[in-house]
């Protein structure tokens, strides 16, 4: 029943073609806020993967078994924010109790991304149709989409952090120093990622 081609397609699409930061332009705030240091970018990236995976699986269940049967899918956004926020709080408490090491590693980034638009974005995308199969996302597909979108976010964040660490040392005109040059860098990265659109999985595998 599991469509392997679809899963591979979702993975590559979420990481490269429809990268959350560089193609969909979601979650830009943490992208610029936490990309100053490679180590904190890694921590943030791990936290995003974690939260996206949990959020996409729970919101899929809520959407499929509560919202759609009652015909109130138009309340998705509000309910998803509620669910994601509560879920992250719960996960944070559980982690602190049962896995202090992981809690330490994720640190401040876990509560920070509670209402990150990228997390909400992946939950909302999962309620639509899978462009590869033309069917609604299955549970496995939406979970994978969450994880892979998180990995895509982490990839963009780590690339950016690496570039910004190099930028710190370079001779930049004073007016462009700091955030301005980061914005320009991010724009160039987005242009580069546009190249992945040529992979065009949707037409070749889908259908």
């Amino acid at each position: 029943m599991i469509n392997i081609a679809s899963l591979i397609g979702i993975s590559i699409s979420a990481i490269f073609i429809n990268n959350f930061v560089l193609s969909r332009f979601l979650g830009l705030c943490p992208f610029f806020g936490v990309s100053k240091k490679l180590s904190s970018a890694t921590g943030m990236g791990m936290a995003v993967i974690f939260v996206m995976a949990i959020a996409s699986s729970f919101t899929w269940v809520i959407n499929s078994y509560i919202l759609e049967p009652f015909g109130i899918s138009y309340l998705q956004t509000i309910v998803f924010i509620l669910v994601i926020a509560a879920l992250v709080q719960l996960v944070e408490m559980a982690l602190q109790k049962y896995s202090p090491t992981l809690y330490e590693a994720l640190g401040i980034y876990l509560p920070l991304i509670t209402t990150n638009c990228a997390v909400l974005g992946v939950a909302l995308i999962n309620t639509g149709l899978n462009p590869l199969t033309g069917q609604p996302f299955t549970f496995i597909e939406s979970l994978l989409n969450g994880v892979m979108s998180g990995i895509g976010f982490m990839l963009a964040l780590i690339l950016m952090a690496g570039l910004r660490e190099k930028l710190e040392l370079s001779n930049i005109p004073k007016t462009l120093d700091g955030l301005p040059i980061s914005f320009i860098t991010a724009g160039l990265m987005a242009l580069a990622f546009l190249g992945f659109a040529g992979l065009n999985f949707f037409s070749s595998i889908g259908g």
Partner: protein
Amino acid sequence: MEILLPIIIVGSVGLFLGIGLGIASKKLHVNVDSRISEILNALPNANCGACGYPGCSGFAKAVAEGKASASGCIPGGSKSAHAIADILGITASTGEPVMAVVHCKGGIAEAAERALYNGIQDCLAATIIGNGTKECQDGCLGLGTCVRACPFDALKINQNGVAVVDPEKCTGCGKCIKVCPRKIISLIPKVHKIFLACSNHDRGGKVKKYCTVGCTACTLCVKATPSGAISMENNIPVLDYTKEENFIPAANKCPSKCFVDLVKKRPKANIDTKCDGCTLCVPACPIPGAITGETGKRHVIDKDKCIGCGICLNICPQHAISLWGTGSIPKQARMA
């Protein structure tokens, strides 16, 4: 009626999540955290970084984990150390409260300049260009690098162009010491109100030429301190505050008035009727002629000459001498 269904569903989802979180917060409660926030409340929360941790929260965490000492917060001093100790259930070993002092008082009025400086108004910048504008190579440049470094607004450049520390505001965090290019700021215990306000290493005659309040290395202060708490190092007296010495005689003996006494008016000694005229106090007094009297008769102290050092208090076998007047009494006199 159509509106009811979404209200009920979203409401019940919210209720369910709320109750779930409520139960979870009780079940998954971690005790360690409450201590950290309590410690954080006991700290000044100035985030000065003097403890070596990133901000007060980092320090609070380290204290709760036993990695940092309860008395590690310098600005909080003994107050927060004891509060933290109460939270942790341990006894705090607090160091003496300390304050920064500037070892120079030769300003515009006293110290000669050798150049006119129009560069960046910063001591470090001025030092790089020909080691500052003062003839004295160790004097305060008065451009306020330390003032800008102070997180507690305790330093200012006075009208004479020299940096002075406000003892009330200073917490002894030591940030000014690190930034001073002349290295003329140091910490002294707050109970000691006296310090040497000169750092010049030149010989006497040379100093006289360019600063009227410069130390001439005459060593009179060393001689006035029999315990050896003052020693000469590289033509400058060094005060050893660990010896709990009474520096009042030394400060008064200094011919160049290099010492600063933060107590403006010292209390004066007074001999009461218990005096049996044993004369022991006369040679003990550092000021000749301040105590007079014949053997067997009650002695008298000349209030104008008395410097209030309190040495005679410990000497008197009859306990007939006490300090009168305003100002704080020197530590040793109080212990007697």
